[in-house]
Amino acid sequence: MVLNVANTVKWMTLVNEKIQENKEYLTELDQAIGDGDHGINMARGFQEVEVKITATDYDNVSDLLKDVSMTLLSKVGGAAGPLYGTAFLKLSMEVKGSETLDFPKFKSGLQEALAGIKQRGKAEKNEKTLVDVWEPLVDYLNSQDSFNAADFESAAKEAMEATKDLEATKGRAAYLRERSIGHLDPGSVSSFYIFSSLAEVLKEGD
């Protein structure tokens, strides 16, 4: 795999497309166990990301990822803003100055992004948050020597679906305790869109 400016722009554009298409669905998921603003917040944030990065020329992927981060931080609104914003910020810092990302660089970047999310949200695995998608994916990548888009996507999907049976102990859903069981975690679903978009973009490039 190689992530360059062109396919990273494509990646973010596709994330935006999926978020816009599933805005209502994300809202419904969040209404069930949260405050119901995840769809609207993510749609606003990624719309702004697309506007920003398609209007800017980048020399390297790390600057692009930093702009993604800053846009999400200031535009998303709910808890997803600081969490995704921190994730993309840590990713961009880890690969600072890189024109393109190869697989080892992407792996270490994603590892730092995960560490950022956990630190920012004071969250661990199995608390029914987006950590439950990011951590299994980082573990999966660390067990691989090369990137397989189809396997990556199914690992993301499996992790997202596994959040349904968890009881939330972090985030708004934690107030509902056992009532949160049986619902997908909205942040894990939006994380799935981010990773399935990446898989699709890199599949095309194969």
């Binding site: 603003d37 917040n41 200031s74 609104g77 808890a79 803003g81 600081p82 708004r172």
Partner: protein
């Protein structure tokens, strides 16, 4: 030395306006910055609003920030980290009761550390 200032961060602008009214009635001599709701005026928190509120009341005495729920804490932390403020602390205390105790202490000219300890102890709860 200037009094410690206070910043209130909430998902709702009405919440922070109301808390400021309550505190001002008793402690008029302490600056209180507020950051309630999102840029669009909806329920949520905004790093930009929090940053502006801190800048508005910032002084050598320092600033103590209070937050309500969820994203408020994360956005408050980010506002402090991204701006690399040194004398801005985030208090772990209930936003109304904590900020009230802090304002009273700040009005007596206590240091940032003393005000924070008093707010977090919050034995008037």
């Amino acid at each position: 030395m200037a009094n410690v200032s206070i910043v209130l961060v909430s998902h709702s602008s009405k919440v922070v306006e109301g808390i400021r009214d309550i505190i001002k009635q008793m402690v008029p001599a302490v600056s209180i910055g507020i950051a309630g709701g999102t840029e669009e005026g909806e329920i949520g928190t905004s790093i930009d609003k929090i940053t502006k509120a801190i800048e508005e009341v910032h002084s050598v005495g320092g600033v103590l920030v209070f937050y309500d729920i969820g994203s408020a804490k994360m956005n408050a932390e980010l506002a402090v980290e991204l701006n690399e403020y040194e004398n801005v602390h985030i208090a772990e205390a209930p936003i109304l009761e904590g900020a009230f105790v802090a304002a009273v202490e700040a009005g007596m000219g206590k240091s940032l550390e003393e005000v924070q300890v008093a707010a977090e102890k919050n034995d008037r709860r």
